[in-house]
Structure formats: C-alpha cells, structure tokens
C-alpha cells in the first residue's frame, strides 16, 4: 500500500467530460468528493447526470479528463466492489424474492460486518415481503429491495441515480437516513435527483451539470 495523504479526496475529477458521437454530453467537470461527504448532482433532463454516474461507476469509459481515487489514478480492478451503483434498472431478478436477490449480491460482493438479509430487509421496510417474488412487488417496493443492497454490501462510495423515484414520503425519509448513516460512517455518496431534496444535517455539496 502506498501511503496516501490524509487529505486526499476519495474521488476527484479533473476536466471530466464525455462525448457521444462527437457531441459533448456535458461540459468538463471538476469536483472533489471527500469521505463523509454527500454530493447532489443537479441538472435538467438530458444534462448527463446518468451518464456521469455510469462513467464514475465504470460502466462507461472515461471520455476526457482524469479520475483519481484516494489521490491516485483510478484503477477499476482496485475499486471494484468499493463503488456501489444503483441505476434506473434495479438489477433485481423478477423471479427471485428480495431475500434471494440479496443472497446473490452478497455472494459476489460480501457482506458488511453484522449485516444480514433479514435485518436489512426489515430496516428497508420490506418485512413480510422477504420471500415474495419481486415481480409481485409494487414499483416502490422494488426500489426498496434494490436499496437493501446498499445496507448489506460493503462499499465506500454510493452512486445513486434517482434513488427517490417511486418512493413514498416514508421511503424518501428512509433514503435520507441511509445516506446520513453512510456518510457518518465515513462513506461518501453521489445522488442525482430532479426533485427538491432536504437532507438532515449539513447541506450537501452540489454538482451542477451544464450542457
């Protein structure tokens, strides 16, 4: 392990941009995200929020600019599993129950210490639906089943694309609680949202997307 200075941000972007068919999807971005911080990615529809998150997750190649992880150029092999991505497609098998979906995820990623599927599903508000096939759950419950991954899997950085979509008032509060717990524990998160989001505690950093 190379010693990294304590002040090195968890994730740093320098002049980050992405082109699709030679059209820039978003203007070059510079930002730093430290451990314990929460960043809200703002922008209109089509401004590239999802593209940015997919790029940070490693699904899209980095177009131009540089990404640094803990002060060193980001290596996908080293960060795999340390970054958790939750996109529009929830990554749940409709034929499996939330419990089975979690079991598969845990056998690939591992579990947080002291976390288990039953307690995580209870916390996320799916008590009584643990063994119901996901196809029979409502859109909001599906979202919750996907969010349960965040609680079960060990990861430092959460990249959440529209985590509030389809959720009711209690669900939105729950997501805010999860984010607060995660950042308090030294994790970091980037969240995209159209709606107005109010976090308890400190004001989140805002990353504004421009065309």
């Amino acid at each position: 392990m190379t010693a990294t200075p304590a002040a090195a941000p968890l994730l740093e972007a320098r002049g980050l941009s992405f082109r699709r068919q030679d059209e820039p999807v978003f203007a070059p971005l510079d930002f730093r995200l430290h451990a314990g911080e929460l960043a809200l990615v703002e922008g209109d529809n089509g401004s590239g929020k999802t593209t940015l998150l997919r790029m940070l997750a490693g699904l899209l190649h980095v177009g131009e600019g540089e990404l640094r992880w803990r002060g060193a150029p980001l290596q996908r092999d080293a960060t795999a599993g340390d970054i958790l991505f939750l996109g529009h497609q929830l990554g749940l098998k409709a034929d499996f129950s939330p419990r089975e979906n979690l079991r598969v995820a845990a056998s690939l990623h591992g579990c947080r210490e002291g976390a288990n599927a039953a307690s995580v599903l209870a916390r996320i508000g799916l008590r009584g639906y643990e063994d119901e096939p996901v196809r029979r759950l409502s859109a909001g419950q599906k979202k919750r089943a996907a969010l349960a991954r965040l609680l079960l899997l060990p990861a430092t950085l959460w990249l959440l694309d529209e985590p509030y979509a389809n959720l009711d008032r209690i669900g939105i509060a729950l997501v805010n609680e999860l984010l607060e717990g995660h950042t308090d524990a030294g994790g970091a998160a980037m969240v995209t949202s159209h709606g107005t989001v109010s976090f308890h505690g400190g004001e989140p950093r805002r990353i504004r997307m421009h065309d």
């Binding site: 795999a80 990554g91 598969v104 056998s107 690939l108 990623h109």
Partner: protein, 228 residues
C-alpha cells in the same frame, strides 16, 4: 475488506441461473418438444424404410439437437441486460469472464442436457443401431457445449442490437458447420465400423479452446455493449 472467494461467487452464480431456469421450466421444455416433433416428422416425410432411416438417423438427431439449442440461445443474456443485473455483474468485484462462464454452463445444463438425455430415444426411433448411440452421445456431449460457448460470444456481440435473433442465426451458421461435420463424421464412422476417435478428438480440442477463450470474449463484448 472481506470479499467472497472465487469458488463461492462461481457457485452462487451457477445456482442463481439454474434456479432461474427451474422457475421457468416451460422455457426448458420448449426445445425438447421441438426436437421430438422434428425427429418424429422425418419418418413420416421419408417413409418408414429401415435402411434409409438408419443412414440418416445420426445426422438428423445431431442437426435437430443443435437447431433446438439455437431456439434458446438468444435468451442467454437478454433478461440480465433488460433488468440491469448485468451491470451489477460487471461492477462486482469478481472476474466477469468467470461469472459469464458460469452463466454459459448453467445455460448448457438447462437447455442442452435435456436434449442429450432424449437423444438416444430419438436415435432409437430412427433405427440407429444401439452400438452407435454411445458415440452419438459422446459427439453431442462435445458439440453442444461448443455451440453454447460460440453462441454466447455471438449473443454478447449482438447484445446491443434490437431483433438480434436473425443476425445471430446468420452468424452462428458458419460456426456450426465444423461442429456438425466432425460430430456427424464420428457417428457415420462408428456406423460403418471405422475408427471414430479422430473427429471426436477434434471436437474436444475445439471445445477446450472455446472454454478458455469464449468467456473472455463474452466479457469484452458485453462490456462494450454496456459502454454506449
């Protein structure tokens, strides 16, 4: 951080895909039904002449089984791409090629194995001599995984395109031909009492090559498909 080992991850992946296949048993039955219908129709079309049926039996069973496999092939990664599971696999801290290898294995177990189980029945229906059936089974045991692996690469390559079924069939056809030639060659040689080991060995060599390379090619192709 405490990551699960490769063995755990691979076993979980295999179990996951087999469980999913089992929950959709109807989809497994479809290729089997297709193979039974096609093999049954041949005697009706050609007449119940023993010598003729005997001569074509090996080839008919081989082609029927391989075509039946094609039916289920394009579903290999489709549902995982649709529901975002593939993104999660790509981002998981496990080697993608190995996970995809497990998916291909599960797909083979779910679609090709039932076909191999009924192959002796189909062969007997077409009066293939009993002594040749073990060679036919051996040829199928090597040719079907080869087709699964080659098919998986093509499915991965066409993953981004809509209505990839037609394109897939066109691309797979030339790749099927050598497998069919060697498998049918082994069966024909056995039927004539000639040594049949050489074509089987060729199939086995091709399979070994595909086992090593196909999952890597699949992983690369699917990463590219998602990166768009």
């Amino acid at each position: 951080m405490n990551r699960p080992g490769l063995g755990t991850a691979c076993a979980a992946m295999l179990r996951r895909d087999l469980a999913l296949a089992w929950r959709r048993r109807g989809d497994i039955a479809m290729p089997v039904l297709y193979a039974v219908i096609v093999a049954t129709l041949f005697p009706f079309a050609l007449g119940p002449e023993d010598t003729l049926l005997q001569r074509i039996a090996g080839g008919v069973v081989l082609v029927t089984v391989l075509l039946a496999m094609l039916l289920a092939l394009d579903a290999m990664f489709a549902s995982d791409i649709e529901d975002g599971s593939l993104e999660q696999l790509v981002l998981s801290p496990q080697p993608l090629a190995l996970l995809l290898g497990m998916k291909i294995l599960a797909h083979w177990l779910a679609t090709a194995l039932p076909l191999i189980v009924i192959a002796p029945l189909l062969a007997a229906m077409l009066h293939l001599p009993g002594a040749v059936i073990p060679v036919l089974l051996l040829a199928l045991l090597l040719a079907t995984p080869l087709l699964s692996l080659l098919g998986a690469v093509l499915v991965a390559l066409t993953a981004g395109t809509r209505r990839s079924g037609m394109l897939l069939a066109l691309m797979l056809l030339p790749l099927c031909v050598p497998a069919v030639i060697f498998a049918a060659g082994a069966v024909a040689a056995a039927q004539q009492g000639l040594p049949w080991l050489a074509p089987i060995a060729w199939l086995a060599a091709a399979l070994v090559l595909a086992v090593v390379l196909a999952p890597l090619a699949c992983a690369a192709a699917l990463r590219i498909a998602l990166d768009a």
